[in-house]
Structure formats: structure tokens, C-alpha cells
């Protein structure tokens, strides 16, 4: 298994622990990552709101790079995944947009052909690696604590563009948690927005959103939460103290990146997974596991 690896900006900046843990997991599972070091930011749904065409051409350039390597793109960020998959869907369904985009790409000697696939690590583990094979790699099952899956938005909706699973009742995270030996916690809010997209504009609303879902998960007995998106991680972990204050509850629920959770179960040394960088201590989780 080899992918054109697109870690995204946040995994290479404030969430370096996600970047590092993904490398360790990939090595352990024999997944080869050829990083697209010259790829630009996906725009995170923000550039789109200033200049939609710029957003299209920047991502089409990334797609063309992967196509020239004859590899599919692997992301570890739901937002990158959602933005890129939606743009690919638009390009593949609009010959006019594709032609206009390729006209721009031709100026830098590149071309988007439409053959590249874009997959989040979560989907790649399920579709390409296989859950039964992953189960065989588990040396340290996630026993003793319930795990709250937090999907967020961009890995689920809009479903017709993402084309992976039922956005109303997704199961991929629960399936992954289960094969890693854990028990998924069922709570209200797992498929809602973490609040990150309005964190800089409507802070108090964002804190309340994140706080509510964290608290719901905790009330259902979760020992920790897991998310496939580093932006959700910022909202749920870094800003958890502010969310706690906003909803007048001491939440104190640790939040893991997806690759950290997989890493723990397949035997990567916990110290190397970067838990010390989290704002909410992971100590009690590591003690139980």
C-alpha cells in the first residue's frame, strides 16, 4: 500500500503529534507514505469564501501532482478530506469547470485527469488495509474504557460528494474502535460540528457546541474521545477548558487523534505518540489501557 500523502497544514504545525503518530502507525502497518511536500493548503473551506476559483485550482494542482505519481491521496484531516473530495466531485461533474481549471493548470505545465482518489486514513484502513488484517496487528487492545467516536462534519457531509458511508448513521469509527479491542460509546452529537469553523468569529457559540458534545460523551461513560480531524481536536482538546467554563461543567475528557488510537493498539510506544502535547491530560487513559 502506497499513497501520495497529504498531511495538511495543521498536522505539520500545531498538531505535530498527529503527523508523527501517523508516520509511526504507517511504518508499523507497512503503509508507504510518499509525502506531497510541494502541495499547498487545501483552503479548509475558507479560501473558497474569498475566491472560489483560486480554491479549485490550488486543489486541482495537488490532485495533478498525485496523478503524476500514479498514486491516490491519503489525508489525515477530515477538513482536507471534505474540501478536496467535494472539489473533485465538482470537477468531475462539470466539464466547464474542469476545462477552465485545466486551462489555468496548463500555465504551470500540469493537468488534472480525474483519476486520482482521495481517502482519509480512516477510510483507507477500512477499504484498503482491511479491518480483519488490522485486528491481527492489535497487540494492546483498548480494553477498560469506552471510546467516544467524534466524526464532525467534513468526513460525512455532503454525502453525495464524499461517497463513503451513510452520513445519518455512520459506523466507520465504531468499527475501527471495535477491531482495536475497544467499546464505542453512543452519545448525542457525534456527527455534529465541533465549533471550530466559527471559533475565531463566534467564540462563545463554538465553546458551547464543543462543550455540549464532550459532556454528552462523558455522561455516556466515555473514557476518551477520538476524532479523525485535527481541527476538531483543537476545538475539543485545546479549547476544552473554555468550553467547560462556558457550560459550567468540569468536562476533563481526553481527546485522541485517530492515528494515536491506532498506534496505541498496534503497539507503538505511548511516549512516542505525543500525548504530552495535549491540553487535557491523557494520563488516566494510559493508566487504564
Amino acid at each position: 500500500m502506497k499513497y501520495a500523502y497529504y498531511p495538511g497544514c495543521v498536522a505539520k504545525s500545531s498538531a505535530h503529534e498527529l503527523y508523527n503518530s501517523t508516520a509511526l502507525v504507517a511504518e508499523k502497518l507497512g503503509i508507504e507514505l510518499a509525502e506531497l511536500t510541494a502541495a499547498s493548503c487545501c483552503g479548509a473551506g475558507v479560501i473558497n469564501e474569498g475566491d472560489p476559483f483560486l480554491n479549485v485550482v490550488l486543489n486541482a494542482r495537488t490532485f495533478a501532482m498525485a496523478e503524476s505519481m500514479d498514486l491516490d491521496i491519503l489525508t489525515i484531516c477530515s477538513t482536507c478530506q471534505g474540501v478536496m473530495r467535494q472539489l473533485k466531485w465538482q470537477l468531475d461533474n462539470s466539464p466547464t469547470l474542469a476545462a477552465k481549471t485545466n486551462e489555468a493548470l496548463a500555465k504551470i505545465n500540469m493537468k488534472y485527469n480525474g483519476k486520482v482518489k482521495i481517502k482519509h486514513l480512516l477510510w483507507a484502513l477500512i477499504e484498503d488495509y482491511g479491518l480483519s488484517k488490522l485486528e491481527q496487528q492489535v497487540v494492546k487492545p483498548l480494553k477498560g474504557l469506552k471510546v467516544a467516536p467524534f466524526y464532525g462534519c467534513y468526513i460525512l457531509r455532503p454525502a453525495e460528494a464524499l461517497q463513503f458511508e451513510d452520513h445519518e448513521k455512520p459506523v466507520s469509527l465504531e468499527q475501527l474502535i471495535t477491531v482495536l479491542g475497544g467499546e464505542p460509546a453512543h452519545y448525542e452529537g457525534a456527527t455534529e460540528c465541533c465549533g471550530f469553523p466559527i471559533l475565531f468569529v463566534q467564540r462563545e457559540t463554538a465553546f458551547e457546541m464543543g462543550g455540549n458534545y464532550l459532556n454528552n460523551a462523558k455522561q455516556k461513560g466515555a473514557g476518551f474521545m477520538v476524532t479523525p480531524c485535527p481541527l476538531c481536536h483543537i476545538s475539543l482538546d485545546a479549547y476544552q477548558a473554555k468550553s467547560s467554563k462556558k457550560i459550567h461543567t468540569n468536562i476533563n475528557l481526553p481527546v485522541m487523534h485517530l492515528s494515536q488510537m491506532v498506534g496505541l493498539a498496534v503497539g507503538v510506544e505511548p511516549k512516542k505518540l505525543g500525548f504530552s502535547k495535549h491540553m487535557v491530560s491523557m494520563e488516566k487513559v494510559l493508566r487504564v489501557l
Binding site: S14, H16, C41, I47, F53, L54, R61, E168, V201
Partner: protein, 317 residues
């Protein structure tokens, strides 16, 4: 045709009898063609005549039968009962969210209509066009956009599932903004793009892009896309709001290094408000998690700069 018994769990409430809403379970024989509305009619006619819900056209046109089905807003007449049973094991039916329950499945849509009204949802005729041949000229491109937006049947599904509205009552909601954009796109409208002014105050930047309004719209109106387009227009009109600054700072950062610089984005968007996060910033720095403000440009940055130039030229055209 094969039939099977399905469980319908319905949130009942009669303000004249009940202190608070309660769930009541009904068993209904369903086949693969039956909609949730068919099943509700069955219950009303054969089990409990007091069950109250709105319905009219039964064809997904009037929008009357919008309700929460297994947690998400849908038209009961467009939702097959068997699909819900296969997915959830039962059919949980509740009135729409973000609106008070009047009785059983009937929600009070007054707030929804109030928000629609806040957007002046009618054509303001440009009198200078009267008698002119230009008065009804609409390009195909514009018609494709405004025609899709005009498909809205005001069912309230997007308003019901809008997570921003749950926490922020100042946010006027997806349907209202989509309706505003419908008239912004209409060349006969006197206000046109001027309608964008003042939208910041009613929540233009409150939408989180959760895409529920796209997913749950029975007419595929995609309000979230209309909101993005309104933001583009507000940005182009040099709207000085924090949301527009955020877009500007984000794009500028990618234009400089190819990547998002989290530090400069944060500083430029938040300005003095960063002082509210001093404690958090120090904690993050202590853990080696604070992003560096000095970003190194990605390889082949010249290509990214060329694309920025090309996009700018396209925009200006």
C-alpha cells in the same frame, strides 16, 4: 407485497392534558412502498385519532409534513418507512427542532418565518427597467443559480437541523440566507448585491458549514453554498467584519508560503482579542504546541504564485 410490523415511537404532547411531552409507541404494518406519512395516517385512522400532524400535498411540494424522523428533519411524505426501520430498527418521530412544540408533531414555525422576513424575501422591482427590453433578461448562468434557490418550499428542515441556530438565536438560519441570495442573483432586483450589507448583524458568519442544511433539504437547494456565495460578495465589498478578515488573512498566508500559518491567521483575525487567550497560548507554548509565526515556503512556490495571479485575473474579468 411483503409486509412487516414496524415500531413507531412518537413524541406526543397535548398542552391541555400533558405537563410535558411523552413518547408513545405504535405498531404499524408497513410494506416497502409506504412512507412515514402513510404510516402516520394509518395510526391516526386506525389507532389514535388524536394524533396531530401537518400534511397536505403528499408529494414533496408543499413542505407541510416536515418533522424529525430518527433525529433529522425530513418530509414524512418523501421518507420511506422501511428505509428508516432498516437503518435504525424503529421510526422515531418528533416535531422539528429549533421551534417550540405546539401539539404532537406540529411545531410552531413563527420564529422561522420571522427570520425569513428579516431577509426581505421579495423582489424589489428596479423601476428603471420598466418598459425596457432589458427588464426580463436573465442569463442562463444566473437562472441556474436563482432557479435552484427558488426551489425552496419553506419546509423548515434546514432551520430545524441548523446547529448554529441551536446555540445562537441571532443567526437567521440557512433558509433566510438562501432566499436573500436568490434575490441577489436576480437582475430585476433593485437592491441586488446591496442586500449583502447588514447581513453580518444577522449571522452571515455564524454558519459552521456543518452541511446538514445541504443533506436534509428535500429540494436540494444547498443553502450552505448560498451562504458561501454571500460571504464572497460581502468580502468583495470590503466588509470589515471579523469573518471577512479571517478569509483575507487565511488566503494571504497561503499566498505567502503555500501553507496556512496558524499564528498569523490567529493574530490577524483576532487582533486584540488574542489577549483573551493568553493563558492558553502560554500553555500551548510550554507543551511545544504553539505554531511558529515564521513559515517556510513550500517547494515549487512559484506555481502557487502563478495560480494566485491567474485566479485574480479571472476574478477581475
Amino acid at each position: 407485497m411483503e409486509t412487516k410490523e414496524a415500531v413507531f415511537r412518537i413524541l406526543r404532547f397535548n398542552p391541555q392534558q400533558d405537563e410535558k411531552p411523552r413518547y408513545q409507541t405504535f405498531h404499524v404494518k408497513i410494506d416497502s412502498r409506504m412512507t412515514v406519512l402513510d404510516a402516520l395516517e394509518d395510526i391516526k385512522h386506525e389507532q389514535d385519532a388524536s394524533l396531530t400532524f401537518r400534511r397536505s400535498c403528499r408529494s414533496g411540494i408543499c413542505g407541510s409534513c416536515a418533522m424529525k424522523i430518527n433525529g433529522l428533519a425530513k418530509l414524512a411524505c418523501k421518507t420511506r418507512a422501511i428505509t428508516e426501520v432498516d437503518r435504525y430498527g424503529e421510526v422515531l418521530v418528533e416535531p422539528m427542532e429549533n421551534m417550540p412544540q405546539i401539539r404532537d408533531l406540529v411545531a410552531d414555525m413563527a420564529e422561522f418565518w420571522l427570520e425569513i422576513d428579516r431577509g426581505t424575501p421579495w423582489l424589489i422591482w428596479d423601476e428603471s427597467l420598466t418598459g425596457s427590453i432589458k427588464e426580463s433578461l436573465v442569463t442562463n448562468e444566473r437562472q441556474q443559480v436563482s432557479g435552484k434557490l427558488a426551489d425552496c418550499i419553506m419546509c423548515g428542515c434546514c432551520f430545524s437541523d441548523c446547529i448554529s441556530r441551536v446555540f445562537d438565536k441571532n443567526f437567521n438560519g440557512p433558509a433566510s440566507l438562501a432566499k436573500i441570495y436568490r434575490f441577489v442573483c436576480d437582475p430585476r432586483d433593485k437592491e441586488g448585491v446591496k442586500r449583502v450589507h447588514g447581513l453580518v448583524e444577522i449571522g452571515l458568519w455564524s454558519c459552521t458549514h456543518c452541511y446538514f442544511c445541504w443533506s436534509q433539504c428535500p429540494r436540494d437547494v444547498r443553502p450552505v453554498s448560498a451562504i458561501s456565495e454571500l460571504r464572497v460578495l460581502s468580502f468583495n465589498s470590503l466588509d470589515p467584519s471579523q469573518g471577512a478578515r479571517h478569509v483575507d488573512a487565511f488566503t494571504d498566508s497561503v499566498g505567502r508560503s503555500g501553507m496556512l500559518n496558524e499564528s498569523t491567521l490567529y493574530l490577524k483575525t483576532m487582533r486584540w482579542n488574542v489577549l483573551r487567550d493568553v493563558g492558553l497560548i502560554l500553555k500551548m507554548a510550554a507543551k511545544g504546541k504553539a505554531p511558529s509565526p515564521f513559515a517556510r515556503a513550500i517547494p515549487r512556490m512559484d506555481e502557487v504564485r502563478s495560480l494566485f495571479r491567474l485566479a485574480k485575473e479571472t476574478r477581475q474579468k
